[in-house]
């Protein structure tokens, strides 16, 4: 007789801690905003400041974006979540006006960013292969600040981005995490209203990632609007007001972090069985199967029908465990679901 165990993964409590931290933070935020510019803030809260309609872009026969609609509201942090090659960077580049869509339209602060008239209100942290290495941190920031009409004082940029200690070091001598922070500094130094952060925490260790999150929250607390891209559901969850999930050039889900999580939260079934990998794969409702030592690990949306089938097909089934999928497994389930659907069509 098999034992069915239901247990929460260790991640669960940590995750809710992150959420409550976020809620506390956002309460602080609204307090700050009301204290400073209440009327303007309320006005902008409801209005969209960046919109994309029916965007399409292909590179040769790769479809990078396929009918994407997006609406960034003033004062929010919108996370664009998706795996490698989903089209996140492509979308950001179009909103910045550094690339043109094949079809569809983009509007930022009511204008076409491609015309280059409102770049002074935008800041961007992009994935860069190489930054001029002989210029010092302070010099990079000095130059970029000069492009903007009302930049932050240098000391403030250095402080927000955590660069004060390394301001006199040449870029080429910095560590990966420090380089990331310089790019972040470049994005914020002009004191822009709308920030695009393309995978700001990629390659950072846990501590540096937390630090970057705190820096991003500082911006939101100053009333900035942020569009952030990420591979990680936990990052989107920790920071965002709203999440858009992008996969293969399409938006496949949209909602608050808790909505997305409840949509994505699948189950993971673990068992040892005499069935073959293929036989397990064929059971309806199984999203993916992995062989883990002598056991199988199945990702599913709902556990009960799959468990019933498993027991019916293999009377010798043993070591059965059902767990809530972790955040990242949940995200995978969400995108793989979408992949399976698009294959059927």
């Amino acid at each position: 007789m098999a034992t069915v165990l239901e247990r929460n993964q260790a991640q669960e409590p940590k995750m809710s801690a992150a959420i409550s931290a976020r809620q506390v933070e956002s309460q602080k935020v609204s307090a700050v905003m009301v204290a400073t510019t209440p009327s303007a803030t309320q006005l902008h809260r409801t209005a969209g400041i960046a919109t994309a309609r029916n965007l399409k872009k292909s590179y040769g026969n790769i479809i990078a974006l396929n009918s994407v609609d997006l609406h960034v509201r003033a004062g929010e942090l919108l996370a664009l979540l998706g795996p490698n090659g989903a089209g996140k960077t492509t979308l950001v580049r179009m909103l910045l006006g550094v690339a043109r869509p094949d079809a569809g339209s983009v509007s930022v602060f009511g204008a076409d960013p491609y015309d280059g008239h409102m770049q002074a209100r935008l800041g961007a942290m992009l994935q860069v292969g190489r930054v001029p290495e002989t210029l010092k941190v302070r010099e990079h920031l000095d130059l970029f600040s000069s492009y903007y009409p009302a930049p932050l004082p240098l000391a403030e940029t250095l402080q927000i981005a955590g660069l004060a200690d390394i301001k006199d070091r040449p870029y080429g001598e910095l560590s990966g995490g420090q380089k990331q922070r310089v790019l972040f500094g470049i994005a914020i130094c002009g004191n822009p209203d709308l920030l695009f952060l393309d995978e700001p925490t990629v390659g950072l260790d846990v501590e540096a990632r937390r630090l970057m999150w705190a820096q991003i929250r500082t911006l939101i607390s100053r009333g900035k609007t942020v569009l952030l891209t990420t591979h990680y559901l936990n990052e989107a969850d920790a920071l965002a007001d709203r999440i858009l999930v992008l996969n293969k050039g399409r938006i496949i889900a949209e909602g608050t972090p808790s909505e997305i999580k409840s949509r994505a939260m699948g189950k993971q079934i673990r068992c040892t069985s005499r069935l073959t990998m293929e036989e397990v794969q064929q059971i309806p409702g199984v999203l993916s199967v992995k062989a883990d030592r002598n056991a199988f690990e199945l990702q599913v949306n709902a556990a009960e029908p799959v468990v019933r089938e498993l027991l019916q097909r293999d009377p010798w089934l043993a070591d059965l465990e059902v767990t809530n999928a972790g955040l990242e497994e949940a995200f995978l389930a969400l995108t793989q679901n979408h992949n399976a659907e698009s294959k059927e069509n």
């Binding site: 509007s107 992009l126 292969g129 190489r130």
Partner: protein, 272 residues
């Protein structure tokens, strides 16, 4: 649409002339600083022409003092041309290819930087390096090669060669839009070394085979070096100066056309 209610209230004010000038100045300053701190660029772009000048213009070859002085003056014009060319092609072409191909230019374009400031800064850096090279060669030539020319002549020579960096900056621009970051230095070397040889910068044209002498008429370094040689009274052929200027102008326009094509081709992809 909600967003359309925004722009009038929150439109970004136009940049004042003063602020534009400040941006151009800062961009130029940091471009120069950036290049000065790259040892391979700063040292090789100055030391190579200087080394070759000392070798071919001052040390090698015999003759009486008058002949030696003439050779030193002749080489001043041709090696000066060579130095200006190298600085322009590397400073413009290679650095553009790298910054464009590695995404840095995209970061700049996503900012409110006026694109023209970016290119003006590169031109400025090439002009400064060209001037430094010419002053160095002139000093060495005067001290050790017996070069003797009135200040006005020296100023004209330097002026012509420094202005002559423009066609090569245009060529660098075109290369920068087509070459990949890793291959750009090789591409530049493959073009400018043979081109400078065939234009008579290394060995005076009249010592080269007839075929090469004909070919040289189609090469920009030939025209620039002829202008420079005319300025110091050593021009070897009777072509009037304006024909050389025209040839350089045409070359510049062709390069700019190619660059504009590359720029447009790029927009859809790695934009820059």
């Amino acid at each position: 649409m909600a967003a359309t209610t925004f722009p009038t209230a929150l439109a970004v004010p136009r940049r004042s002339l003063q602020r534009s000038i400040a941006i151009y100045a800062k961009e130029a300053k940091y471009e120069l600083l950036k290049n000065l701190r790259i040892p391979v660029y700063a040292i090789s772009s100055v030391s190579f022409p200087l080394m070759f000048y000392v070798l071919f213009g001052v040390v090698l070859g015999g003759g009486n003092p008058a002949e030696r002085a003439e050779r030193a003056t002749y080489t001043l014009a041709t090696m000066g041309c060579f130095g200006v060319m190298a600085v322009s092609l590397f400073g413009f072409g290679v650095s553009l290819a790298i910054e464009r191909g590695q995404g840095w230019l995209q970061v700049k374009r996503a900012s409110p930087m006026p694109v023209s400031a970016y290119f003006a800064a590169k031109l400025f850096s090439a002009v400064v390096f060209s001037t430094v090279i010419m002053l160095l060669l002139l000093t060495v030539g005067t001290l050790f090669g017996g070069v003797h020319m009135p200040i006005a002549t020296a100023a004209r020579l330097i002026g012509i060669l420094v202005a002559g960096s423009i066609p090569f900056c245009a060529m660098g621009l075109a290369i920068g839009y087509f070459a990949k970051p890793n291959s750009a230095p090789a591409v530049v070397n493959l073009i400018y070394l043979p081109m400078s040889f065939c234009s008579g910068l290394w060995i005076p044209l009249f010592l080269l085979p007839h075929g090469l002498q004909v070919l040289a008429k189609f090469l920009p370094p030939f025209h620039l070096s002829q202008l420079a040689l005319n300025a110091v009274g050593l021009g070897e052929n009777p072509t009037p100066a304006w024909e050389h200027v025209e040839a350089l102008l045409a070359f510049t326009l062709i390069c700019l056309g190619v660059a504009a094509w590359g720029y447009r081709r790029d927009e859809g992809k790695t934009y820059g």
